[in-house]
């Protein structure tokens, strides 16, 4: 699972739908892997306005990275120096993969497991809607 996906997944249980703290999930005992991927600057640019930066900071802190800037940096498409910034974002969002570990919903404390980089969102029958 890419780091990018952590900025979008939330708890699957119906009672957590409206809850504020069901997103982002809390990540613990995560095993990370860096995997090289094609660099698509236009995708990064397109997804930037949709990112929830505070959630990125929180998840990054869960994973042990507290060196990110507290504000989403402004990006001017025409500025060549932004290439480096986009590359950094690419490395963080796309190339960082979560291979093994747990995701916990802070609202209902349900634990979702990540195995072989596939998160398991199947719910037990008593929680299924």
């Amino acid at each position: 699972m890419k780091f990018l996906t952590t900025n979008f997944v939330r708890c699957a249980i119906k009672s957590c739908d409206g809850a504020v703290n069901s997103f982002p999930l809390k990540y613990s005992e995560i095993e990370l892997v860096q995997e090289e991927q094609d660099f698509q600057p236009e995708f990064i640019l397109g997804i930037l306005p949709r990112l929830d930066w505070p959630a990125i900071l929180k998840v990054a802190a869960d994973l042990g990275n507290t060196s990110l800037p507290s504000q989403l940096p402004e990006i001017d498409i025409n500025d060549p120096s932004n290439e480096i910034l986009l590359k950094d974002l690419h490395t963080l969002l796309i190339e960082t993969q979560l291979v093994q570990g747990k995701m916990i919903c802070e609202n209902c404390n349900h634990v979702y497991h990540i195995k072989d980089s596939i998160p398991n969102f199947l719910l037990p029958p008593h929680l299924a809607n």
């Binding site: 699957a12 997103f23 698509q40 995708f43 072989d116 969102f121 719910l123």
Partner: protein
């Protein structure tokens, strides 16, 4: 035609052998690719940017590979672990999620540009366990799907409805969730190649869906006549046959129909 939905739940049916068979069969690969391209054509997404797409029922990633070729980023969801394992072996680019779509799409609001789904949503109409209510599952699916799309986001979902009832069920659930759109039927005359695509949009899209080559076919409603009008329209022969029918139903003995029934008696013999 065999329907896998009637045999076993998806996570059971698509076991190791079935998913390998599914992925390695060139005929299936060909059909899947064709349907994916058609769904993309219907979505009419902007070509110059990389879109963020959700693939529902991604299976082994046959449709996802095409999305990657188109330069889009995608996340796939499937309920069958064996299918996803096959996808991992094939080293697909997109992210994979093991989830039951009937329990909702676990993404926050406004995540995706578009949603694609090939041969998956008809599974929602089945009650595989005693506590599964297809109607509730369909609603939950469409409600969360609506939320996970950005405003103006579009859905193109190819599916195999078992009958008209299922088609109605799916369409009305989508409507209740707030989607606009309908069903596009490709090759409507052919029984074998007939394909249903549910094409929806969440809010008004900036770029309309691509309906090139689609013929609108609204059912023409026949005006129902009342009894009096029916009687006026009736010929003498119709009248006699109707009366005979009524008498037969009442158990009276009625002369058999022949070519002489209700014929005019000519003056000459």
């Amino acid at each position: 035609m065999s329907r896998p939905e009637q045999l076993a739940p998806a996570e059971v049916f698509y076991n190791e052998t079935e998913s390998r068979k599914y992925t390695n069969n060139t005929r299936i690969q060909h059909i899947q690719a064709k349907m994916t391209l058609r769904a993309l054509e219907l979505l009419n997404l902007p070509k110059d940017t990389a879109n963020f797409i959700l693939d529902i029922g991604c299976g082994s990633g046959l449709s996802g590979e095409i999305l990657t070729e188109e330069g889009d980023m995608w996340i796939g969801m499937d309920i069958s672990p064996d299918m996803l394992a096959t996808a991992l072996d094939r080293e697909v680019e997109g992210d994979l999620l093991l989830a039951d779509i009937g329990n909702g799409i676990p993404f926050r609001a406004g995540t995706f540009d578009a949603v694609i789904s090939i041969s998956a949503i008809q599974w929602l109409c089945n009650a595989d366990t005693s506590n599964a209510d297809p109607k509730r599952r369909l609603l939950r699916f469409f409600n969360t799907l609506y939320a996970s799309l950005k405003r103006g986001g579009k859905v193109a979902a190819q599916f195999y409805p078992m009958n008209d009832n299922q088609l109605d069920q799916i369409q009305s659930a989508a409507k209740v969730a707030g989607f606009q759109g309908g069903v596009v039927i490709d090759d409507p005359e052919s029984k074998k190649n007939k394909k249903y695509y549910l094409v929806l949009s969440a809010g008004t899209p900036d770029v309309q869906i691509n309906l090139e080559g689609v013929v609108m076919d609204a059912p023409t409603k026949e005006r129902k006549l009342n009894k009096k009008q029916m009687k006026l329209m009736e010929t003498r022969k119709d009248y006699i046959q109707r009366k005979k029918e009524v008498m037969k139903r009442r158990g009276k003995s009625v002369a058999n129909d022949s070519k002489f029934t209700a014929r005019k008696r000519r003056p000459r013999f």
